[in-house]
């Protein structure tokens, strides 16, 4: 009833609407202009808020005056500019870290960087293979137990991952893969259960038309040939997405990595090392500056890599979420 009435009203008043149209259009335009201005203001404000911590980290990494917070409280700009924090960071035996050794804090940034890089590369390579195997199979092959496997992994995912940390540590310790040998241990653990994270790439494979597989099968291709000759060439975005996320993961992990390294400076990754640096009970003001310097050194290459491959990341995230 109501809807009928409304259309009637519109029909009756439409002639007047047409005559008014140019004027109304103008009004809309200025309204749009105001709207756009408001949006620009909000976006600029947001950009400032979003960039602010990063700018601070960057600026603070160049501060070399120990008492800057007393001299100029509330300023984000360094009182005295210099490269000292970076120099200290790469010089574990230098004067700066003497205080830390008293506190039994071990510093070896060079080693941490190398460790993290090795873990990241290995994880990126192996995890990508595992995730793609899993997601491809679940998406495009039909076999007995497929639904069961997916439900089973869904249920497994409901357990907090941290729960398994204790036992995984013990297993790694029995294998001799902890402390200074933590690198292979970390790679093993990161890669081994990575098959559970198949959702996003499965979502991608689901969108490739099945008729492609069928056509290839009719032409006599085996299932393996379908994967390598037909699907894989089409899957560049998701392969890059998987490599990118797998590579970035180890740079941020500090919980399990800290547990496995067990306070051994040679077994730490950057996240654990730098986190130890600031969370220790020492009251050394400069440690934050050194932390910032370390943060800048890690963040710059990762950010550049990320921005370079941003397109693929966006495709992966949106595709995965839309498919659910």
């Amino acid at each position: 009833m109501n809807a009928e009435k409304e259309t009637l009203v519109v029909a009756e008043s439409s002639p007047t609407l047409i005559t008014l149209a140019p004027k109304k259009h103008m009004g809309m335009r200025t309204k749009n202009g105001i709207g756009s201005t408001v949006i620009y203001v909000i976006l600029v404000l947001m950009s400032v808020i979003w960039l602010f911590p990063f700018v601070c980290i960057f600026l603070q990494s160049f501060e070399i005056n120990r008492n800057s917070e007393l001299i100029n409280p509330g300023s984000i700009f360094p009182v005295q500019w210099g490269w000292d924090n970076y120099k200290n960071l790469f010089d574990p035996n230098g004067e700066f870290f003497k205080d830390f050794y008293v506190m039994n804090l071990d510093i070896n940034f060079n080693r941490w960087l190398l460790n993290t890089f090795i873990v990241s590369l290995a994880t990126a390579a192996l995890q990508t293979v595992i995730v793609l195997c899993m997601s491809y199979t679940l998406s495009r092959l039909r076999f007995k137990g497929r639904k069961f496997l997916m439900k089973f992994m869904l249920i497994l995912g409901m357990f907090p991952g941290m729960l398994t940390m204790i036992i995984l540590y013990r297993v790694l310790a029995d294998l001799g893969l902890t402390q200074q040998n933590s690198i292979p241990g970390l790679i093993l653990v990161y890669v081994a259960s990575s098959g559970m994270g198949y959702y996003i790439s499965k979502g991608f494979f689901d969108t490739i038309p099945k008729s492609l597989d069928e056509a290839a099968r009719v032409d006599g291709a085996t299932r393996a040939q379908v994967l390598f000759k037909v699907i894989l060439p089409l899957s560049k975005p998701i392969v890059i997405y998987t490599i990118l996320t797998a590579f970035m993961g180890p740079w941020g992990d500090f919980v399990f990595a800290a547990y496995v390294a067990f306070n051994n400076k040679d077994g730490m990754n950057v996240a654990v090392g730098l986190q130890n640096l600031v969370s220790g009970t020492t009251n050394i003001v400069d440690k934050y500056r050194v932390f910032c310097a370390g943060g800048v050194i890690i963040a710059i290459p990762i950010t550049l890599l990320f921005l370079l491959l941003q397109k693929y990341y966006v495709e992966g995230v949106t595709g995965g979420a839309v498919k659910g």
Binding site: M46, L51, L141, I155, Y169, G252, F254, T318, G324
Partner: protein, 513 residues
């Protein structure tokens, strides 16, 4: 309450509709539980029937089988081996030999000790040669539990393989009887690239998940029924521990303030965890969507620049950004310094410090989480918004809908429909959002009412950070950590089941292909 259908429902006004849906949801709960019970009953019945069929088939195969098939019941792979399928036969036989070898020499004794988890702890023995006391380790409960679980895995795998071997023998016998071609080993190998391709692909991932996820989870569930803690042994468990039944669960679920105070802490933290997950999920969801709509609006320039700036928070590792942000909001951090200079904050005001007001700290954490969460949501929402058919908006405009109406009638329903599953996963992800809480506040400010034998508990602690604190604490009560882990699983599973059943978008995955 009567049920409205079709027009009757449409006649109701908005408020009545909402009331109707609301009451129906709650009236539906008993029915829902009934259905759940029925589903479980059907599952049990199905499993029982499957086992019955398997047993019947085993008997049937034995009766109808020739001597080669019958020998397969004891010597695995015999039926394949003597019908020319040498590869399969040897594999079966090797597996059986390995299993028996393992069981006789190790597995049997591990499983034998499983009921007690070891009886003889470490003892100090006087060493006459060096004139000192040395510790001699006997039973190790941790190893006994771990290896007996492994042995049970092995037994299940053996039973499955044994059954497979009999099936294979039966098939081979039948095919030989009908004079058909039996697959040779070469063909077997080739089939792993073709009709058995899924097995090749899944072998590595599933073994990894089995050993590094399933085994630890089963182990930790078992630990929640023991008294395993790291006290006095530096995390190395040469001390014995034993089964205690449901005691740990009783301790945490029986409401009791003071004393060990696990239950009080659990209640407090569970409440905040759920509230946090709700606030974090929906604040990010709606604000992220808003930002996406703003950036995607026609006529807004530099779209790529805005997006890139926001996306930086995803690129830079959280331990850098969050640790620094936590320092910015700390008592002597830059934000408070500025507010004090402007006269907007008193000297004692604190965002996330030890003396902060609990609700201020909680609010601050939610707000900072928005800083982290908006970029993800912005990306996801952008992808979805671009998929909404433009003609929907055009016809809405012709009908005279303003932009708010377009949003509530087109954009929002579409988004909610598509992202329903995502909302659920993100809710669960936020429940277990360790990084944000641990790096920002570490659980502070402390909650004296909830702290106790379990160590200090903070107002911003989530179940997951509490679990971590207990594990890393002075006493390392692994058993309590496991109980909390199991309870987190129960909560998550219940929420998922309820929400999944309410969701309109229970999509069929084949629809897209």
């Amino acid at each position: 309450m009567e049920k409205y259908v079709g027009l009757e429902f449409l006649k109701l006004n908005r408020f009545q509709r909402f009331l109707y849906k609301f009451t129906h949801f709650f009236l539906g709960i008993p029915n829902w539980f009934k259905n759940l019970g029925l589903a479980i009953w059907h599952l049990i019945k199905k499993i029982g029937l499957a086992i019955k069929n398997e047993v019947l088939d085993l008997i049937d195969t034995f009766r109808k089988g020739d001597w080669k098939t019958r020998v397969s019941y004891v010597v695995m792979g015999f039926g394949n081996l003597f019908r020319g399928q040498i590869g399969r036969g040897i594999l079966f036989l090797a597996f059986e030999a390995l299993f028996l070898f393992y069981m006789i020499f190790w597995g049997g004794s591990w499983i034998g000790q499983m009921s007690t988890l070891g009886t003889q702890g470490p003892e100090e023995v006087y060493d006459t040669v060096y004139d000192t006391y040395t510790t001699i380790y006997h039973d190790n409960s941790f190893k006994i539990l771990l290896y007996s679980v492994l042995s049970l895995f092995f037994i299940i795998a053996f039973i499955y393989t044994w059954r497979l071997n009999i099936k294979q023998a039966k098939i081979a016998q039948q095919l030989a009887l009908e004079g058909k071609h039996l697959r040779t080993s070469k063909e077997d190998i080739r089939s792993f690239a073709d009709d058995q391709f899924h097995k090749t692909m899944l072998a590595l991932p599933t073994i990894g998940i089995l050993v590094f996820t399933v085994l630890p989870i089963i182990f930790m569930i078992l630990v929640s029924f023991t008294n395993y803690s790291g006290a006095n042994n530096n995390g190395y468990s040469n001390r014995l521990f034993t089964w205690v039944g449901w005691t740990n669960f009783q301790e945490i679920l029986t409401w009791q303030v003071g004393g060990t105070a696990y239950s009080a802490a659990f209640g407090e933290i569970l409440g905040w965890t759920l509230m946090w997950a709700f606030l974090a999920t929906f604040s990010n969801y709606f604000l992220g969507m808003l930002v996406a709509i703003m950036i995607n609006k026609k006529g807004i320039k530099l779209k790529k620049v805005w997006r890139t700036i926001l996306v930086l928070t995803i690129a830079i590792p959280q331990f850098i950004s969050l640790l620094y942000v936590s320092r910015m909001f700390a008592d002597n951090g830059i934000i408070l310094t500025w507010l004090r200079q402007l006269g907007l904050a008193s000297g004692s005001f604190s965002f996330i410090g030890t003396n902060a007001n609990p609700w201020v700290a909680r609010f601050t954490v939610v707000v900072i989480n928005i800083w982290i969460g908006i970029p993800y949501l912005m990306l996801i929402a952008t992808g979805i918004l671009m998929n909404i058919p433009v003609d929907l908006y055009e016809s809405a405009k012709i009908d005279g809908a303003n932009s708010w109406q377009q949003y509530t009638k087109i954009t929002l329903p579409y988004m909610l429909f598509i992202t329903g599953p995502y909302l659920l996963t993100s809710f669960i992800g936020n429940m277990n959002n360790f990084n944000v809480i641990f790096l920002l506040t570490g659980g502070r400010p402390d909650n004296p009412a909830a702290s106790g034998a379990s160590g200090t508990v903070g107002y911003t602690d989530l179940l997951i950070t509490w679990l971590y604190k207990i594990t890393m604490g002075a006493n390392s009560e692994y058993y309590m950590a496991s109980v909390i882990g199991v309870l987190v699983f129960v909560v998550v599973a219940v929420i998922s089941l309820v929400v999944y059943n309410l969701m309109p978008s229970n999509k069929n995955e084949e629809d897209f292909q």
